[in-house]
């Protein structure tokens, strides 16, 4: 069972004061909470890396939590920031596909949920941008193949991918 808000807040206050035992419990519980948080946001095989990244950010920036304010929104804000950063990195590198082969080994439900979240983002993009991002970044087609399939020029495919990804990152960042 994941800890509740008052427990998290109590553990965090102790952690800020250097209590190692509280810190250990807090980091473990935060890890579980983050796993749930990311389950609907990234493909399953990327979750653990992202959770580790957020835990490191959490640890480094632990002084920025104000004990007068709730803990979980603070953690969620850091998680979302790292998620946006992660999306940028993943989409930037052609070698890193959103849906690698090993995703098939994870539960179907999780894969579907990760896609649902991405599909909702795609729904907010112009059709031409969503189409080429899906073909190149998820389907693994080359720029030329996507250009041939869609009838767009290669430069336009590149521009649409770039603009679409930028808009997706902005949409995620702005979502409250």
């Amino acid at each position: 069972m994941v800890a509740d808000e008052p427990t998290f807040a109590r553990l965090m206050a102790a952690t800020q004061n250097g209590d190692k035992a509280a810190g250990n419990v807090l980091l473990s519980e935060a890890g579980v909470w983050l796993e749930r948080y990311f389950r609907r946001r990234v493909p399953p095989h990327q979750i653990d890396d992202l959770v580790q990244e957020v835990l490191i950010a959490f640890y480094t920036k632990r002084g920025t939590w104000d004990p007068a304010r709730p803990f979980l929104p603070w953690l969620a804000a850091i998680a979302r920031y790292r998620w946006v950063d992660h999306l940028r990195k993943v989409y930037k590198h052609d070698s890193q596909e959103l849906m690698d082969d090993d995703a098939a080994q994870d539960s179907e439900e999780e894969v579907v949920l990760a896609r649902v979240s991405l599909d909702r983002l795609f729904g907010q993009l112009p059709e031409k941008q969503a189409e080429v991002i899906e073909m190149v970044k998820i389907g693994g087609l080359s720029i030329r193949e996507a250009a041939e399939k869609t009838g767009q020029s290669e430069s336009l495919v590149k521009v649409n991918i770039h603009r679409g990804l930028k808009k997706m990152a902005t949409l995620v960042e702005k979502a409250e």
Binding site: G18, I56, G63
Partner: protein, 217 residues
């Protein structure tokens, strides 16, 4: 920090290194930016001399209104900027946007006034001989505020990087212009409405372009 294959190892390593941490407080950020604004004002007075007309009642209403709005915009953007260094989710303050909108009415009014031909003062409008000096001096004073803001943001954990860039530019521009403005003896509507507002817009754009890479974490 290095990446671990196993999350438990990462947690164990972080727990081992855990030490008490100094909390990042909003009041510290506000005090830092307020102090830097005072330093910028003192530096402006040292370079350009204090304009006594401010206290003798010589300053025009336009001058007082413009600098009052700059103060309000500076306070609103500082408050939002400082809060933005502490991660949170939820509604964002819109005060800086409304403050900037209020300030934007001044240059519009100044241009309309110039077009109607009512302004005949030598230092009016686009031919203003001291426009460049007022703009650059305001931007220089604002740079001090901008540096302090970036240092504060780097201490914190801003999660809306682009917004923090805009806010840094707005705070630096408005407080920097205010700090310099108290030394400027030109108080016509067209002068303060144009050249004591332009640095805010320029600074906001610079902030948006320059600050994000400096505060990304």
């Amino acid at each position: 920090m290095e990446k671990y294959n196993n999350r438990a190892d990462l947690i164990a390593a972080m727990t081992e290194d855990l030490t008490p941490v100094r909390r990042v407080k909003r009041s510290d950020g506000i005090a830092l930016i307020a102090f830097t604004t005072v330093v910028a004002a003192v530096a402006s007075i040292a370079v350009f001399e204090w304009w006594s007309g401010l206290l003798t009642g010589e300053a025009s209403g336009y001058f007082l209104i413009t600098h009052g709005l700059l103060l309000i915009l500076g306070a609103a953007s500082t408050a939002s900027l400082v809060s933005g260094a502490l991660p949170r989710v939820g509604a964002r303050a819109t005060a800086p946007m409304w403050g900037a909108a209020m300030l934007a009415t001044l240059p519009i009014g100044a241009v309309l006034s110039l077009l109607s031909g009512h302004e005949s003062h030598a230092s009016s409008g686009l031919n203003d001989p001291v426009a460049f000096m007022c703009t650059t001096a305001s931007l220089s004073a604002g740079a001090l505020v901008g540096i302090a803001s970036v240092l504060w943001l780097r201490r914190g954990a801003p999660v809306s990087i682009e917004r923090s860039g805009w806010l840094t530019g707005l705070a630096a521009g408005s407080l920097g212009t205010l700090a310099y403005g108290i030394t400027c003896p030109l108080d016509t509507f067209s002068h303060v409405g144009l050249w004591h507002v332009a640095p805010v817009a320029i600074s906001a754009v610079i902030g948006r372009l320059v600050v994000p890479p400096l505060i990304r974490w």
